[in-house]
């Protein structure tokens, strides 16, 4: 499949997921609802890379609003057979050196794990969200796909740092992504998640643990029941925020507008019926429900409280361990399936990834596994991955 939704420069060395804006280049987030929309400005992360001399090869396909498993449900590039993420595949194939993506519900991490490349979802607030086609503002973050940890670190050093155009951007001007020695670090392998994973995934995680040990890292097995809880809370918050953020796509201002309508209500309904896929519609319905008067307290508000509880519990874990090792997904590969089954499938697989979106900690997909660290320990995760990569060379 062609990985690019828009090809910009054959010689470009980076790709940019279509959930990020580039000035004057059509942007759709994989959705028909944004068909024909051309942004007036570029995402801050893209701008910073361009200023440092990186060139964009093109916009890579994403699943509609990044809500699916790995990018299978783009209106513009339907997939069949074994699923793959476009940007991750482009990096794996060497078409580009690295790529930018938006991690809102784990799709880029799963895609990277499938393709055997790295993707870092950085600590929340370190990379500007200016120019992201936003869905779940409280947990989405711009991250980097790279062939290896060094590669990711190189781009992170460019894109991270305060941006006054984003109210959630932290005030630090720069962050240090220098890879360091990991000898003596302590990593906890989360066994509950491992048990739920398929054979191939388990093998990858255990192999990674062995490589870490060989690099002088202490690996300890732990039970941790926070992941399922964190996943439920994040799916509720994510659906609510997404429902709200995609409300603006109403056919009035830009993007797709239904041809048939007799009044404003029909314009809204017909446009949105045609413009969104089944998964987005499911997310809108769930999101709308958890925000409704009768459900708010038991769903949305409770999820905010769970977020706090999980955050405190994870903090305590990081008092004992430097990082957590988990699968990036329970399956090592996915076959094509019907969009009506997507909500359940994504929910199930997000159990590995959601905690990082929920509480803003960094998460790195590498070698088919996932490393989680405490806030601002992005460089440590990259260093752990680099230690394994060095061994593998």
């Amino acid at each position: 499949m062609n990985q690019f939704a828009v090809m910009m420069n054959e010689k470009g060395n980076i790709a940019v997921d279509d959930t990020l804006l580039i000035k004057d280049v059509p942007a759709t987030a994989g959705s028909r609802i944004l068909e024909g929309f051309t942004p007036l400005f570029s995402a801050e992360a893209v701008e910073r890379l361009q200023q440092k001399g990186y060139t964009v090869a093109g916009k890579t396909h994403v699943g509609e609003f990044g809500l699916d498993l790995v990018g299978e449900f783009s209106y513009y590039a339907p997939q069949s057979g074994a699923l793959q993420g476009a940007a991750a595949s482009a990096v794996a194939a060497g078409d580009v050196k690295a790529a930018l993506g938006v991690d809102m519900n784990g799709a880029p991490r799963r895609a990277a794990a499938l393709a055997g490349v790295d993707f870092l979802k950085p600590t929340y607030g370190t990379v500007s969200r200016y120019g992201v086609i936003s869905c779940a503002a409280s947990g989405e973050q711009v991250g980097v796909y790279g062939k290896d940890a060094k590669n990711v670190a190189e781009l992170m050093a460019v894109i991270a740092g305060h941006d006054p155009k984003d109210g959630t951007s932290l005030k630090n001007e720069t962050y240090d992504y220098t890879l360091a020695d990991v000898q003596g670090k302590k990593v906890a392998l989360v066994t509950d998640l491992l048990q739920k994973a398929d054979e191939a995934t388990r093998a990858k995680v255990l192999a990674f643990a062995d490589e870490l040990k060989a690099a002088g890292v202490e690996v300890v097995e732990i039970d941790c029941d926070l992941f399922a809880l964190a996943n439920t809370a994040w799916q509720i918050l994510m659906c609510a925020e997404t429902c709200n953020n995609v409300s603006r796509y109403d056919g009035v201002k830009y993007g797709h507008r239904a041809a048939d309508y007799k009044n404003i209500d029909e314009l809204y309904v017909n446009t949105r019926t045609e413009g969104f896929n089944f998964l987005t519609k499911a997310v809108i319905l769930y999101g709308s429900d958890v925000l409704s008067k009768h459900r708010y307290k038991d769903c949305y508000d409770k999820s905010l409280r769970v977020r706090r509880v999980v955050s405190e519990a994870i903090d305590r874990l990081f008092g004992q361990y430097d990082a957590l090792l988990t699968p990036a997904a329970f399956a090592a590969s996915f076959d094509a399936y019907e969009v009506k089954d997507a909500f359940g499938k994504v929910f199930a697989q997000s159990e590995c990834t959601a905690v990082a979106n929920l509480i803003g900690i960094p998460a790195l997909a590498c070698h088919g596994v996932q490393l989680l660290g405490k806030a601002f320990d992005d460089a440590l995760l990259l260093s752990l991955a680099a230690a394994v990569e060095k061994k593998g060379e």
Binding site: L21, G131, G167, Y300
Partner: protein, 473 residues
């Protein structure tokens, strides 16, 4: 049965900031063309994030200080969801859970005495755009979207329309003096919550809300209409009152129920994750306090509360003698706004024509109040009042005596009028004859002669009636 009116107000005030609340678009009020003052943020394009305009926080805090509110040091924004084409993001950013100011108090003074109005909260929010309808199509204009507003919500403490209007005038005076808002036409919009209960009752009656009124006159009329509707329903069972949102129609002077759907809407409020909580530390608060005008000019506030325009207030306060004349005249029992008009328009004009100034002291509060009172109670008409004023300025006349002397008194008794008419008829036999011969026009000439003789005194309708009677004899 006697009824008591119970009202609470929600007042939206547009803040005087250089730019919008979450983006750097400025000058919307000067924008000539639709969508002249928009950017990707305030037109709801993807990728743009709201960035808080700190000035909005400072002005909201200043308003809170002026209304004796608690300033909440931790304040957050929420999203209010609804679809309408003039709302580009399909949500409005507002404050529900942690508004910036709470628990204030403002005193309003009316002819019924003073009343404390409790302020429930003040919160910050963004305005919506507007729709322009043309033929079969509608167009959106986003110039106004994201213009910063504060909404001031009171407790149900108002008991009369006069208190409401006085309160609004007071807000206007304060906000102008504090640089919070220019409060120009349309920059202050009001929702009135209204209910009626038997006097002495502690329970609230059924409440209706009249939405989105911007003229104080309309607000007063709407309250009068709506409270009467409530009282009629209670007293005569004319209809069953239901809790609902209503709209006031200026042309008919009536209120109408809005679609029920709108009142039952679930706005699905939830925190806006794009805007971090705002923390107002001591240092910032002290800085805002220091910037606040040292003391609101009480006098200006008083004048403004009486409905006197800012321009007039500027003139009144530019000369201590003028404002003293006004205050003294009011102290003698005259209406403040009416007196201001007499002083600024009539006195100023007459004095200047006579080559005099207020400093000459020819117009005293006693004389002026005498004229104003005679006009107010119908003793003389407004024009006669002006004549008296001229006499006061030019000849030092005493108003009451002068009116009597000159026969300006409209309340001259019928016998005096009859005397004048008899004289006129006797002096114009030709006209009388013409009239009796069928020349109706002759009546006009005779009436004019009577009026001239009476020098504007007497009620023209009465004079005409008497004249007709005499001619018919």
């Amino acid at each position: 049965m006697k009824y008591e009116l119970v009202m609470g107000l929600e007042t939206h005030v547009e803040l005087s900031t250089e730019s919008k609340i979450f983006c750097s678009c400025g000058g919307h009020s000067a924008a000539n063309e639709p969508n002249d003052c928009v950017c990707p943020a305030c037109s709801g394009m993807p990728g743009m994030l709201p960035v808080m305009n700190k000035r909005v926080v400072e002005l909201a805090v200043t308003a809170g200080l002026m209304l004796n509110c608690d300033i909440n040091r931790y304040t957050t924004f929420d999203k209010k969801n609804y679809y309408y084409p003039d709302l580009p993001c399909a949500y409005q950013i507002t404050q529900i859970n942690h508004p910036i100011c709470t628990n204030g108090l403002v005193t309003v003074k009316t002819s019924q005495g003073a009343r404390d109005i409790r302020i429930k909260q003040i919160h910050m929010e963004e305005d919506a755009g507007k729709l322009v309808h043309s033929g079969n199509s509608s167009y959106v204009d986003f110039n106004r979207t994201s213009v910063p507003l504060i909404e001031i919500v009171t407790q149900p403490d108002f008991r009369s329309a006069e208190e409401v209007v006085t309160y609004l005038n007071k807000l206007k005076a304060m906000f102008r003096s504090g640089g919070i808002s220019e409060c120009e036409e349309g920059a202050m919009r009001c929702d009135v919550n209204i209910s009626v209960r038997p006097e002495g009752s502690e329970e609230f009656g059924v409440r209706t809300e009249i939405k989105n009124m911007s003229s104080f006159e309309a607000i007063e009329k709407a309250i009068q209409y709506e409270s009467q509707r409530h009282m009629d329903a209670l007293e005569f069972d004319t209809e069953e009152l239901v809790q609902e949102t209503r709209r006031y129609d200026d042309a008919s002077g009536k209120t109408f129920a809005m679609r029920n759907k709108e009142t039952e809407a679930d706005y699905r409020y939830f925190p806006d994750a794009n805007l971090m909580p705002i923390v107002i530390d001591d240092e910032w608060l002290e800085r805002i306090k220091a910037d606040k005008p040292v003391a609101v000019d009480e006098k200006a506030e008083e004048y403004m509360a009486a409905g006197i325009s800012q321009k007039e207030i500027d003139v009144l306060l530019s000369d201590g003698k003028i404002s003293k004349l006004l205050d003294d005249t009011v102290a003698l029992g005259c209406d403040r706004k009416d007196s201001a008009t007499w002083i600024l328009t009539d006195c100023a004009g007459v004095l200047s024509k006579a080559g005099k100034t207020f400093a000459d002291g020819v117009v005293t509060a006693e004389k002026l109040s005498a004229i104003i009172k005679m006009v107010a109670d119908g003793t003389i008409n407004r024009n006669a009042g002006k004549k008296v004023l001229i006499a006061v300025v030019e000849q030092g006349a005493e108003p009451v005596a002068y009116c009597k002397e000159q026969g300006l008194d409209r309340k001259v008794d019928a016998s005096a009028i009859e005397g004048v008419i008899d004289g006129v008829l006797a002096a114009n036999p030709k006209a009388v004859e013409d009239f009796k011969a069928g020349k109706v026009k002759a009546m006009g000439a005779l009436f004019g002669a009577c009026m001239k003789e009476l020098k504007g005194a007497g009620d023209p309708a009465v004079i005409k009636q008497l004249l007709e009677q005499k001619l018919a004899q």
